[in-house]
């Protein structure tokens, strides 16, 4: 019989991992299609949470309404973000040889700039402190599973992440739009030649990814009962790490790695100390990359 203490710690680590996974799904989707690190994804998460907060304080609608409204809002955010920070730089992708380099650099910076403006803007608008939420919206009622205690949010977030992952896998592997997304991600110029509307595909991807990001934001906000302008920073980094560790192109890979990251942090707290948890998580990443230079589930480098 395993010591219930360890079971409990395992459960906590996993629930942390599921939160990272929730964020990583949207992040990986967006990265996949443009090969661009979207620094503003963390802000989408935050803005999603704030949108939910405003909605709750203004109208106090039922939980599901909040969730779906935030998802819709997130999609709109993604649309706007793409228009502002990414679309203007797409003109360079035409010049065949200079292809994506100029684009990568400039969107790296434009998304960073947007994220700065949004975060600072939120701080001015709401202050940088945590915003309290009405308690009955919080999804943190304890559930006892034998010796292990989890909360309602764990179940909800797990379910949402599973639905997102499954839906996305279905979309990418089985539908035409999914095929288009993958085609644009593999070769945007090539996609034009086969008649894919690349602009629309990219926008769709952004809308989808941001929808998931914003949804993650409000869910996690309700889970911890705390919403504040800098809340997207840590999950953003962790999602980025999980994505790369998973091998960039594989969303299930990113999810698995997110779970591993969460677990490794939980275990680090259990066996070492909370303040060294990052060390363990990042050390784990480095070791993984030393043995799998293309991530755990990544494809090999292209042949010469």
């Amino acid at each position: 019989m395993i010591d219930p203490y360890y079971l409990q710690q395992l459960a906590i680590g996993l629930s942390q991992g599921v939160i990272y996974a929730l964020m990583a799904i949207g992040f990986t989707l967006i990265f996949g299609v443009l090969n661009v690190v979207n620094f503003a994804h963390g802000e989408v998460y935050t803005v999603g949470a704030f949108a939910g907060l405003l909605l709750i304080t203004a109208f106090a609608p039922p939980f599901l309404v909040v969730l779906f409204a935030v998802l819709a809002f997130g999609a709109a955010l993604g649309f706007g973000l793409e228009r502002i920070a990414f679309k203007p730089f797409r003109r360079f992708s035409d010049e065949a040889s200079l292809k994506s380099r100029a684009m990568r650099e400039s969107t790296l910076m434009s998304s960073l700039a947007v994220s700065i403006v949004v975060r600072e803007g939120l701080e001015i608008g709401f202050g940088s402190q945590m915003q309290p939420l009405p308690f009955d919206y919080l999804i943190n009622k304890p559930i006892e599973l034998g010796p292990v205690t989890i909360v309602t949010g764990d179940v909800i977030i797990f379910a949402v992440a599973a639905v997102m992952l499954g839906g996305l896998q279905y979309l990418l592997k089985r539908t035409r739009i999914g095929l288009s997304i993958r085609a644009v991600s593999a070769n945007p110029l090539g996609a034009k030649y086969v008649g894919i509307d690349t602009d629309r595909t990219i926008i769709t991807t952004f809308a989808l990814g941001s929808m998931m990001g914003a949804g993650a934001g409000i869910l996690v906000g309700l889970y911890y009962g705390a919403i504040f302008p800098a809340m997207g920073f840590v999950p953003g980094i962790k999602a980025f790490v999980a994505m790369v560790m998973g091998g960039l192109s594989s969303i299930p890979g990113a999810v698995i790695c997110a779970l591993l990251l969460g677990l490794s942090e939980g275990l680090a707290t259990t066996f070492i100390s909370s303040n060294w948890a990052d060390m363990v998580a990042y050390g784990f990443l480095i070791v993984t990359l030393i043995f799998f230079p293309q991530g755990l589930f990544g494809a090999g480098r292209e042949r010469v």
């Binding site: 400039s106 910076m109 403006v117 790369v244 990052d278 480095i286 990359l289 030393i290 991530g295």
Partner: protein
């Protein structure tokens, strides 16, 4: 000659102008610009020239600062020893972490450097026995050059400016030379560079180490000029700030890195007047500059031809009589 004149202006006339105002504030800001220019130029070598997205540069800056501060307080080793030691320590650490990770390419490399940076930061913050952890380290001794205390703002400024100029000169020689060409080939197509006989892994390790060395020097300068170091200054945000400097200035362009550093240090200071909105403004300025000049304020192509005209080679016997090589 032109660049030398420019340097002269920067290093001599600027403080003269500042001295006219008689303000320590201006020296402080100018000094910060110089330290960050060094940081940016050292990052330029890795990220701009060699094309390796480095997201943990601030950590090596921090190692340099801590080594300088700890040597000063614990071993009573002053500036003369502490400065090179800081650079060497940062370089040594970079070398060790580079050995297993430099096989990585593209975004895998980026995330590995992110992890390295965060790990170093975690150590600075939590290894209380050595780094004093969150308490930081206070360095009272000030700067002492072979028995000559350097105290006045002007003197400190000159010292920092001189050291930064020297360091940037070295980085310039690396970047604007055939060695720099090899670095750029690494960025363009590492497999192809490999076929041209360029030892890509060794080159990456070298350039990562050299860059860390100068980040360490920058850190030491920060420690000596500020007198107090604490882990908060060497986190991910600082890495991103330095990255933003070189991208805004023009990725791949050494003068651009300096311009970017100046811009992103000066801008928040200049905007103090507008109050809490100033950081929003910084973001907007960054956005607008990258929107209209996506290749940076002084992009690589123009920067290289500029530098070439100043420091390049006149190839007399070639039929075209044009200056394209490096000295």
């Amino acid at each position: 000659m032109v660049p030398l004149l420019v340097l002269l202006v920067v290093f001599a006339l600027v403080p003269y102008g500042l001295a006219k105002f008689g303000k320590g504030y201006f020296f402080q800001v100018a000094q910060l610009v110089l330290i960050y220019a060094l940081l940016a130029v050292s990052l330029h070598l890795v990220t701009g020239a060699a094309g390796l997205l480095h997201l943990g540069h601030a950590a090596f800056y921090g190692v340099g600062a801590y080594v300088a501060a700890l040597l000063g307080t614990e071993m009573k080793l002053g500036f003369v020893w502490g400065l090179p030691a800081a650079g060497l320590a940062a370089a040594a650490l970079a070398f060790v972490v580079a050995l297993p990770t430099m096989r990585l390419v593209s975004i895998y490399f980026a995330v590995a450097t992110l992890a390295i940076g965060q790990m170093i930061h975690t150590v600075l913050l939590n290894w209380v026995a050595v780094t004093k952890g969150p308490n930081g380290v206070m360095l009272f001794s000030g700067i002492n050059l072979f028995g000559w205390p350097v105290k006045s703002p002007v003197a400190v400024y000159f010292l920092v400016a001189g050291l930064v100029a020297l360091s940037i000169w070295v980085l310039h020689r690396l970047s604007h030379s055939y060695y720099g060409n090899a670095l750029r080939s690494l960025r363009e197509d590492d497999q192809c560079a490999d076929a041209m006989g360029v030892d890509t892994v060794r080159l990456k390790i070298e350039v990562f180490t050299v860059s860390a060395f100068f980040a360490g020097i920058a850190g030491a300068l920060w420690a000596y000029t500020t007198g107090y170091v604490s882990p908060g200054d060497f986190g991910f945000n600082t890495s991103i700030l330095v990255l933003a400097m070189i991208v805004v200035g023009g990725l791949g362009s050494l003068p651009g890195a300096i311009i970017g550093a100046a811009l992103l240090i000066l801008l928040p200071e200049v905007l103090r007047g507008i109050g809490d909105l100033r950081n929003v403004m910084v973001g907007i300025v960054m956005f607008v500059s990258i929107l209209f000049l996506p290749k940076g304020l002084l992009g690589e192509v123009s920067a290289l031809s500029l530098v070439r005209r100043g420091f390049g080679l006149k190839w007399g016997s070639a039929p075209s009589e044009r200056e394209v090589g490096w000295r």
